[in-house]
């Protein structure tokens, strides 16, 4: 049987919970601007793109460009290097990917130069697999930018790019 006291208590409990819930929501709403201000601001977000003149990069060379504050590798691969990259497709990879899926034109490999371990810039023409070696904690990347050894979990990602003509590419 519900008495008058039960009803009062029930109503009071409801008020406690409703006030508490409103307080939590308000506190969350007040905290959000304090947290979100640390995210990249609008000017940083405004995506920039860069154009790269490929005719300046000789065969077998690796060039580095700064895109959105991070370095990007543009590697002009030789026939032998392309063959090696294709042969690497069958290797036991941590992050399996085919070389042909990582390039638009096989002689131009355009990838992020940020090691997927902790963000250092790997050194070209180093490492056990003719690609890159990250000096920080020893991740090796092959000539397709795929991780073959070391603590890095993922391949060096392909960045978004587009060929404007045979010798110009736009990154971003």
């Amino acid at each position: 049987m519900t008495t008058h006291d039960d009803v009062v208590e029930e109503r009071r409990n409801f008020l406690y919970i409703a006030t508490g819930a409103a307080g939590v929501v308000a506190a969350g709403a007040a905290a959000w601007p304090l947290i979100d201000q640390m995210n990249p601001s609008k000017d940083v977000l405004a995506l920039s793109s860069i154009e790269v003149d490929l005719s300046k990069i000789p065969l077998g060379q690796n060039a580095v460009f700064l895109w959105r504050g991070n370095p990007v590798f543009v590697r002009h691969r030789t026939e032998a290097e392309i063959a090696e990259a294709r042969a690497g497709d069958t290797a036991d990879l941590a992050d399996p990917e085919k070389d042909e899926d990582r390039v638009q034109k096989p002689e131009w490999l355009i990838i992020s130069a940020v090691c997927t371990h902790l963000g250092c810039v790997p050194l070209e023409h180093h490492g056990d697999f003719d690609g890159w070696l990250c000096p920080c904690h020893g991740s090796h990347y092959d000539i397709s930018g795929r991780v073959t050894k070391g603590p890095a979990p993922l391949n060096l990602p392909v960045v978004p790019y587009e060929f404007l003509d045979d010798s110009t590419v736009r990154i971003g």
Binding site: M38, N39, P40, S41, V44, V64, L66, R68, G69, N70, P71, V114, H117, L118, G119, C120, V121, P122, L123, C134, P135, C136, H137, G138, G150, P151, A152, P153
Partner: protein
């Protein structure tokens, strides 16, 4: 802050103030004649006061540096050179602050290991111990952000690698992916990062002061333990802090300042890294990046593990595991003076920690001895590090037969005096 002696000023003005705000009494009962301390403390008990001294030194010199430093990626590097070359006594204050961070860590490491050896983390001092670990974590964050401020190559790449540690949490839905961008305020370490690190580097030392006050408060509830590890019982076991330990601490402080000054005046760059005299360049990672010496053992643990997530978790756990020590160690006797086997493993742990530090500054693929690379040794040392806490400490502390413990501090001290 319980005490037997009450502070009663005779001067009427002082008494008038004391009746309204008992501040002098608080000091008297905390570090004065009103605070009674075990009579047998040795020099290992100096390091808490030394840490407090270093905290004050860092805050005073830091506030002055901030008057001349510019947190801008184009100007920061030059502004530090300006401090060193042009600002009056800037060379001195900058060298004190930069070396002071190292001194602070040296002192705190000794202080922590003193706690390990003499069982200071055991009941009833667990909260005191936890507050100490929190202090250490705040120091690590502060030192890391401070090292970024001069914006040299090591500053930049250290910042990049350490902030990237948080990218292992990218499997967490919603927040995971953006966590490093949130930390950086961009797509890489840049202007927003430097700016916020400066803000936080200024803030955290004051948070540290707050936690240190709690730490000292928690200390004054049971009071200090002592080299024998037995509780002080009667009047005979204790002496007033002032003048006995104020004098002992002052002497220790003098010796320490000589050591500190030797670095500041003769080898101010000894603990630094030459690459940090090169301005930050986001296109080129130095061929060999190393953190400051005080992070090296943990850096070695991070690199020992060939899996990003597990490596990062191992590194964080290697510090957080200290929170469990009051329970991992089940010995009834505090001090390792009476626990020879524990003592042996303790020194092995210290040697292992130094070895990890050595490995942390070698390149991972360096071949060291017997054809094994640095990473292989780091794996063994990391294993020992965790085995010390998780296997050796729980078992040895519970199984070891301890040597006879003296009945009281006074008895032990008088006995030792008789032998001369």
């Amino acid at each position: 802050m319980a005490s037997e002696n009450k502070f009663e000023p005779t001067n009427p003005t002082l008494k008038w103030i004391e009746d309204r705000l008992p501040l002098m009494g608080l000091i008297y009962n905390s570090i004065g004649g009103g605070y009674n301390v075990p009579r047998n403390l040795n020099y290992w008990w100096n390091f808490g006061v030394l840490a407090g001294f270093m905290m004050v030194v860092q805050i005073v010199t830091g506030i002055i540096l901030a008057m001349h430093y510019i947190p801008n990626i184009d100007l920061a590097f030059d502004s530090v050179q300006h401090i060193k070359r042009d600002v009056n006594y800037g060379w001195l204050l900058q060298a004190i602050h930069a070396n002071g961070a190292s001194m602070f860590f040296i002192v705190v490491y000794v202080h922590i290991l003193r706690g390990f050896y003499f069982g200071s983390y055991k009941a009833p001092r667990e909260i005191l111990w936890f507050l100490g670990i929190i202090i250490y974590l705040i120091m690590m964050a502060t030192g890391f952000m401070g090292y970024v401020l001069p914006w040299g190559q090591m500053s930049f790449w250290g910042a990049k690698v350490i902030t990237n540690l948080f990218s292992v949490f990218d499997f967490i839905p919603f927040i995971g992916d953006g966590i490093v961008n949130w930390l950086w305020g961009g797509f890489s370490v840049g202007q927003p990062t430097l700016n916020r690190f400066f803000s936080l580097h200024y803030l955290l030392p004051f948070v540290l002061v707050g936690v240190v006050i709690l730490h000292v408060w928690a200390l004054h509830i049971p009071g200090s333990t002592n080299p024998l590890g037995i509780d002080a019982k009667g009047k005979h076991d204790k002496i007033p802090f002032h003048p006995y330990y104020t004098a002992k601490d002052a002497f220790g402080l003098g010796v320490f300042i000589i050591f500190f000054a030797a670095f500041v005046f003769y080898i101010p760059d000894f603990l630094g890294h030459p690459d940090n005299y090169i301005k930050a360049n986001p296109l080129v990672t130095p061929t060999h990046i190393v953190p400051e010496w005080y992070y090296l053992p943990f850096y070695a643990i991070l690199r020992a593990i060939d899996n990003k997530l597990i490596g990062v978790l191992a590194m964080f756990s290697s510090i957080l595991i200290m929170f469990a020590m009051p329970w991992l160690d089940g010995a009834r006797v505090r001090s390792m003076r009476f626990r020879p086997l524990s003592r042996f493993f303790f020194w092995l742990f210290v040697a292992n920690g130094i070895f990890l530090g050595y490995l942390g500054q070698r390149a991972p693929d360096d071949i060291l001895w017997f054809g094994l690379v640095a990473t292989s040794y780091a794996q063994m040392a990391t294993f020992f590090y965790f085995a010390y806490f998780l296997i050796i400490m729980p078992l040895v502390s519970r199984m070891e037969t301890t040597k006879p413990v003296p009945t009281s501090i006074a008895a032990a001290v008088l006995e030792a005096n008789k032998k001369g």
